[in-house]
């Protein structure tokens, strides 16, 4: 099956997709907030953030010094556009498979899928 345009290989891995999805809802987020929300280790998150930063998808800014040092992460406009394109591509795949794939899952089933996904993420940590 071919992937529709907008599908982003860099965002596709589950950990990176979660990181970008979280950042897409924010102007910026603190490093510890992202780490705790996604149940990742410091090193796993750091690795994913640097990969995305190298691609120009996000900016990492360090503020303050000593014990008050904070790391803020912000999605760039390029990263936001890539994420929106990726989401549109995923929707196109679901819709392209027919209404059964998209509408066949009741909201409860969708919530269950989300919960399962979250559990899987907890176990997988920064698998990718």
């Amino acid at each position: 099956m071919s992937t529709p345009s907008g599908f982003d290989e860099l965002i596709h891995p589950s950990t990176r997709l979660s990181v970008v999805a979280l950042l897409a809802a924010t102007e910026w987020a603190d490093f510890p907030f992202i780490r705790d929300s996604l149940s990742l280790s410091d090193s796993a998150l750091s690795k994913q953030l640097h990969t995305l930063e190298e691609a120009g998808y996000l900016e990492i800014r360090k503020e303050g010094g000593g014990r008050k040092r904070r790391t803020k992460v912000r999605l760039t406009s390029r990263g936001r556009t890539a994420f929106e394109g990726h989401v549109a591509a995923l929707r196109a795949i679901v819709e392209g498979a027919g209404p059964a794939a998209a509408a066949g899952q009741a909201p409860e089933a969708a919530d269950a899928t989300a919960a399962t996904t979250q559990q899987r993420q907890h176990h997988a940590k920064a698998g990718r």
């Binding site: 897409a24 809802a25 102007e27 929300s37 929707r91 795949i93 989300a114």
Partner: protein
């Protein structure tokens, strides 16, 4: 390398996106619930400023008080901003956020002016203390419920927007 994705995997990825975004709204709602300390501090500062400014101070003393009040409010804003772990993206705010901000200013200003007029009209003793207490109370009564009202629909709004995009 090209990745191929089937419909089921794409659907799971779309659900996976929802989970971290829910965490963002959890944090926004938690902050709105827990900001009572900031509200009480702001109300206490307002009370002090109004009480002091009603003491028939000379012009320079009034301006000094006003400058100190604004400076302390600014410092407080910086401190609370540093404690914030996230900031919601501007596209995710609803009209309620802006309405709450402006309504808060209007309610406080009206409370200050009306209580001042009332104190003058009734020629009450300790007028500035009464005016300060009424204004700070109006601010406190408004700000908590208004903040919760402003953030209460953000999650549903984001969910609806996602659903509408999906339907299109």
């Amino acid at each position: 390398m090209t990745t191929t994705v089937d419909a089921e995997q794409a659907w799971q990825d779309l659900q996976r996106i929802r989970v971290p975004q829910e965490r963002v709204y959890d944090e926004i709602e938690r902050t709105a619930q827990d900001d009572t300390r900031a509200s009480y501090t702001t109300a206490a500062l307002m009370w002090m400023f109004l009480a002091v400014s009603g003491l028939d101070l000379p012009g320079w003393a009034f301006w000094l008080t006003l400058t100190a009040y604004v400076a302390v409010l600014g410092t407080l804003a910086v401190v609370y901003n540093r404690r914030t772990r996230i900031r919601l993206h501007r596209s995710r705010h609803s009209w309620r956020s802006f309405a709450t901000f402006f309504a808060g200013m209007v309610v406080t200003l009206v409370a200050i002016l009306l209580s001042g007029r009332l104190v003058e009209w009734l020629a009450l003793p300790f007028g500035s203390l009464i005016q300060a207490t009424v204004s700070a109370a109006a601010f406190l009564l408004f700000v908590g419920p208004a903040n919760r009202w402003a953030v209460s629909t953000l999650r549903d709004r984001a969910g609806r927007a996602t659903h509408e995009k999906g339907v299109r």
